[in-house]
């Protein structure tokens, strides 16, 4: 009995020791993200180092591939073992989680940081659900960009950026004649959809774009716009190399960095890859908004904060939200990621020429939301299927395809 008592006391002392050690524990958080390419990882590191500087402990669970990371996240949520934070887009994808009560609101952080003043109203609306702020925005991305290799352009004898699609295709012919792959095509459905959207915006304008995606309008002008978009998309097939199917976007960017290819259609996160490779905008590579486009498609990233039932993690989530919205972090992050800061009150002078262009369009309001913001994940998937089927099917019957387009909203 005595020995039992001793053991028990020793146990209590031991437990007490650990409890004390635990109380001193720093706020620890596990971050799940799909930011694994060079530029993305560098950008995530900006948040990480500031978070650690302020006393947090960072556990990285990066998973390559947006879909793979999402699937892993949902598994963890269902298993009741949610990570402390998840990188995701601002839009309808987060809505289900919030309405199920699975996310922690970060209202007090937002109130203390005066986020209502710092963020554009549209963004503030998108991160709030039922009047409470749930998401911490990291940055906005423009998706209407065409990047080009300066060296490839000069080799092909192209002296200035094409203004119209006809000029653009003439330039692609020149690139082809110079023995350069004209378009570094990323062959995954989501990338193809982004190209579709940037062409669509150039054909129907911002109002027409919103009419299609936000109002689901099937009017004559909309159908005609989709048809013209598909025609341009179809013409691009002839300028793509044989290995394009399934290619990652950063592999496509690498083709520009090594001057093997002429242009790439991609969101401005591609700049992060150029930066990591030591290339500068305006000098080694150029960026232009898609021909004939008077606006820009945008998408915004944020951190989501699932409920974990752990007070330490809750504390860490608040600290992280604070760090993410810190003005210097926003700028540093944007520089590495190639994005545009979400806060409108930051020092913009440091941003590169491309980001300045994007910022101009953004502050002029010439922007339209990416499909992930306005469509449900099911509709986004159906849109990907539609574009991929048209692109890979080789059908040039844009008229019939345009009629089918509107089935994605059903």
């Amino acid at each position: 009995m005595k020995t039992m008592m001793k053991l028990f006391l020793a146990g209590v002392a031991f437990a007490g020791f650990f409890a004390a050690a635990h109380a001193e524990d720093k706020p620890t958080i596990e971050i799940m993200s799909s930011w694994t390419s060079g530029g993305e990882a560098a950008a995530l590191n900006v948040i990480r180092s500031e978070f650690e500087k302020r006393g947090g402990v960072w556990k990285d669970s990066s998973i390559a591939g947006f879909g793979a990371a999402d699937a892993a996240f949902q598994n963890r949520i269902v298993a009741g073992d949610a990570p402390g934070a998840k990188q995701g887009v601002i839009g309808l994808a987060a809505a289900d989680f919030v309405s199920q009560g699975l996310f922690n609101p970060i209202d007090d952080v937002a109130a203390a940081g005066k986020w209502t003043d710092a963020l554009p109203k549209s963004i503030h609306d998108l991160i709030s659900y039922d009047g409470k702020v749930y998401l911490a925005p990291t940055g906005a991305h423009g998706e209407s960009w065409v990047f080009y290799s300066k060296e490839a352009f000069s080799k092909a004898g192209i002296s200035q950026e094409p203004k119209s699609w006809d000029e653009f295709f003439a330039d692609l012919d020149k690139l082809k004649a110079a023995g350069i792959i004209p378009v570094a095509w990323g062959g995954q459905p989501w990338q193809q959809t982004k190209v579709f959207n940037m062409i669509l915006l150039s054909q129907v304008g911002t109002d027409g774009f919103l009419k299609i995606y936000a109002d689901k309008d099937k009017g004559e002008a909309s159908v005609e716009g989709v048809k013209k978009t598909l025609e341009i998309l179809g013409r691009l097939r002839g300028y793509v190399d044989a290995g394009a199917a399934g290619r990652n976007w950063n592999d496509a960017t690498a083709m520009l960095i090594t001057d093997k290819a002429g242009v790439q259609f991609m969101g401005d996160w591609a700049k992060g890859e150029f930066t990591v490779a030591g290339q500068e905008p305006g000098k080694d590579y150029g960026c232009m908004i898609a021909p004939e486009s008077k606006g820009m498609v945008y998408i915004a990233d944020a951190l989501w904060f699932p409920k974990t039932g752990n007070a330490q993690t809750d504390k860490a989530q608040k600290l992280l939200a604070e760090v993410v919205m810190d003005p210097t972090v926003q700028v540093e992050f944007a520089l590495k990621k190639g994005s545009v800061p979400m806060r409108s009150d930051v020092d913009k002078s440091k941003l590169d020429a491309c980001a300045q262009k994007g910022l101009e369009l953004m502050s002029a309001g010439a922007i339209v939301p990416d499909q992930a913001i306005v469509l449900t994940p099911q509709q986004v998937g159906a849109l990907d299927d539609f574009v991929d089927e048209y692109w890979s099917g080789g059908s040039n019957d844009a008229g019939t395809a345009a009629e089918n387009f509107f089935a994605i909203f059903e």
């Binding site: 949902q74 598994n75 062959g187 995954q188 190399d241 994940p377 998937g381 692109w391 890979s392 099917g393």
Partner: protein
Amino acid sequence: MSVKRKRNLSATIALLPTWFAAVVVFIGTMAWSIRLSFTNSTLFPSSTYVGFAQYAKLFASAKWLASLQNVLIFGVLYVAGCLVLGFLLAAALDRKIRFESAFRAIFLYPYAMSFVVTGLIWQWMLNPTLGIQASVRSLGWESFVLDWVVNRDMAIYALVLAGVWQGAGLVMVIALAGIRGIEAEQWKAARIDGIPVWRIYVSIILPQLGPALAAAGMLLAMGVIKTYDIVVAMTNGGPGNATEVPAKFIMDNLFGRQNLGLATAGATVLVLGVVIAVAPFRYAMHMRNQAKGGA
């Protein structure tokens, strides 16, 4: 009498966990999935029933129909290819060659690899700008074309190729074990009769390998239903719908597209398909056993 009952009781108790697992884990989750397929669940399970709406949507989806067709083409060619190649390898190894165990290890080795690795290797080899096509062209044969992975009409056969490369080793080992179990007397008798070697294999050895090959075929067929990782690694279902398979369709809808209802409807159809395919087979076995028992 009482001893027997006691033994049964303890056996029953010992089997309880198994019963629990069978009822709750297997049948329970299956029932749960089937129930979900009749609801309008999106990201999370819902209890709003919508009848057969998800099934109607499923069979209106070109992607799903393409996936069924693909898995059929892939399944038949993959199982047949593995069986034929595996048997040929086993017969070749049986010819008392040198370094037999080394060959056996080499041919079986692919089976030890995950499908993801197999898929990636073959994707690289068949990628026109990286793999075989590029190397042959760099040797001077400029018009050489091997673009199966990126070709809509050929992509499914690229999957079959990679699958057979991986699965044939398993069949080889099973068939070889079967061949070694056949009595040497039969060989001697056939030799004396002057029957050519290939004829011995086809008419004498092969019929006796029936059960072994059936087992191997069953193992492979079960793999076909689950085909997912090799597709993701090699083509990700593309180009277009050309290599979409049901398992991938279900996974995509479960996670990426937050469409639990449609995904469980797909899974239910898949289970039903397996039941329909296996039931007559099981029934025939059952009847045969009963006939044996009666005799």
